[in-house]
Amino acid sequence: MLKIKCPFCGVRDESEFNCGGEAHIVRPTTDFKLTDKIFSEYLFMKYNPKGVFLERWCHTSGCRRWFNLARDTVSHEIIEIYPMGVFPKTVKGKKAYRANWRRKSKSEAVSKHAKRTKK
């Protein structure tokens, strides 16, 4: 059982939350020529690491607000909780962000987001 510190309500039981899966996935923009392969990569393919994973959670039985969370998928240790639309700040969190294959994927390369974060 996880104890999750909701940024808005404080520490609560895992059962009050829902996990929304991988964070920071960027939808490829349509002003590029999208192939089925690139869209499939965005829509279906998963980053599924054994180690630190960045994911979205929602405090469904509480304030119903979303936030990001960096968690180890082996020890279940929660490393960092940070707001939506923001990148992780801890060393482990940053490393997990870079380790994700999506950062080098075609689906992310053709998104506006990638161009913005490169600057």
Binding site: N18, C19, D36, L43, M45, V74
Partner: protein, 432 residues
């Protein structure tokens, strides 16, 4: 629905080693069971194999057995990180059935069920396959209507399936609570009589012994650390026991599929989740049918040892720890007690989790990859055990002939690009 002749192979037990039979039990009793032959060799890796299977669970061992027995590939190895059947093969709730709605799923699960019927004879190993029937209960008018649609689709594929009324259910399962005033009242259900259970460890051991006898090397405590390739062709695997040269690698590693795929820079639509089960203290025989409920998300059966075996759905977040959150068993026990009030008197003995490889359409992946000689058999998610013989059978065919047969064809990785998904989230029932 695609159908193939069930080729059970002809090469098995060519070495004429000692058979298991009632006579061998009697003979060994005379020597106080001290002289039983070793079931399989403790092999060390050779430098070269024609094919290597990564993963010594039921599906991997079945693949190796059928590669050797049907396709004549005996210079092969199974490489297992831990011990045989120590992953999901030894952690599931042993339910076997083939009552899936979509033609593609019906084909592969029925193929498996046909192989289950006769597997003990094929392997000369009692896998304790017991066709005790699987009953899926519905708790509302609407669920019952959806269920009858499924039953008709299943019957059109020639798979046995019957709708039962609450009173027929009470007759079949006298301990069930059919009071209409409980939280989830029993409104009806459907039964597959040919479905049932098997002894999960025996499946791994039986396949291992039979494969070993055909010359397959079974290498335990050996972890794969890397894949080597030359251009687009696989050339070997790096393991903790050294480099092994091979041009064909079959990955059957369930929850760890993404880890192996990463070594080859291949993307999979897999997430790894814990799936939990619990068993009670053993009691006298009281339940001889497998009961499943999709609405309350619970399935229950009684093992031959007398333990009540319960399972539920996956945990809600990714994990590689073979445990899980307490909320899941709590919910599963509450639902079980509602249906079977006598269960409240039982103590639960053990709880555990296995890491399952869930797929977006809840159907498996049996596929070639962009790398020549690298094959994946994964994505079975919460319901792989029932498919063990069928999965190994068609995967061996894929590896040996480098093309999927009609049963395996719909389960290729390409479906995530074409959109031809085999959506079994509802059609299979939650607990599959």
């Amino acid at each position: 629905m695609a159908k193939l002749n069930i080729d059970r192979g002809t090469r098995a037990f060519a070495r004429k080693s000692k058979r298991y039979s009632i006579f061998s039990i009697a003979k060994n009793a005379a020597s106080y069971h001290q002289k039983w032959q070793q079931a399989w060799r403790h092999a060390e890796p050779k430098s070269t194999y024609d094919a290597v299977i990564i993963g010594g669970g039921g599906h991997g061992l079945a693949t190796a057995y059928y590669l050797a027995n049907i396709h004549g590939m005996t210079n092969i190895a199974v490489i297992e990180k831990g011990w045989l059947g120590g992953g999901n093969t030894g952690r599931n709730t042993t339910i076997i059935r083939s009552n899936y709605m979509w033609d593609e799923s019906a084909a592969i699960y029925e193929h498996a069920l046909k192989l289950w019927e006769g597997l003990s004879q094929d392997l000369n190993f009692n896998v304790m396959f017991s066709q005790r029937g699987v009953l899926t209960i519905s708790h509302s008018e609407h669920e019952l209507k959806g269920m009858s649609r499924r039953v008709h689709a299943i019957r059109l594929n020639g798979i046995d399936s019957d709708i039962l009324s609450p009173s027929e259910i009470k007759k079949l399962v006298p301990t069930i609570n059919i009071d209409p005033n409980i939280r989830y009242p029993v409104m009806g259900g459907f039964l597959q009589k040919r479905a049932g259970t098997a002894r999960h460890d025996a499946v791994a051991w039986g396949y291992a012994r039979a494969a070993d006898e055909l010359g397959v090397d079974i290498i335990q405590n050996c972890e794969v650390t890397g894949l080597r390739r030359n251009g687009n062709q696989i050339t070997g695997i790096q393991t903790t026991k050294g480099f092994v040269k091979t041009s064909k690698v079959g990955c059957v590693v369930a929850g760890h599929s993404s880890i192996i795929a990463d070594m080859a820079n291949i993307r999979l639509p897999i997430t790894s989740r814990p799936l939990q089960a619990i068993v009670s203290e053993p009691i006298k025989p009281i339940l001889d049918t497998v009961i499943m409920s999709n609405a309350v998300h619970m399935y229950i059966s009684q093992s031959d040892k007398g333990e009540m075996v319960l399972g539920a759905g996956v945990d809600k977040y990714n994990s590689y720890a073979q445990t899980g959150s307490w909320t899941i068993p709590e919910h599963m026990v509450a639902a079980a007690i509602d249906l079977f009030p006598f269960l409240s008197q039982l103590r639960m003995l053990r709880q555990w989790g296995g890491i399952v490889d869930t797929c977006p359409d809840a159907s498996p992946i049996i596929s070639r990859t962009d790398i020549k000689g690298l094959y994946f058999n994964c994505g079975w998610g919460t319901g792989g055990f029932k498919a063990t013989p069928g999965s190994g059978h068609v995967f061996a065919d894929l590896i040996a002939n480098d093309r999927p047969n009609p049963i395996a064809l719909p389960f290729g990785l390409k479906r995530f690009e074409t959109g031809y998904l085999i959506d079994e989230h509802g059609a299979a029932g939650v607990a599959h």
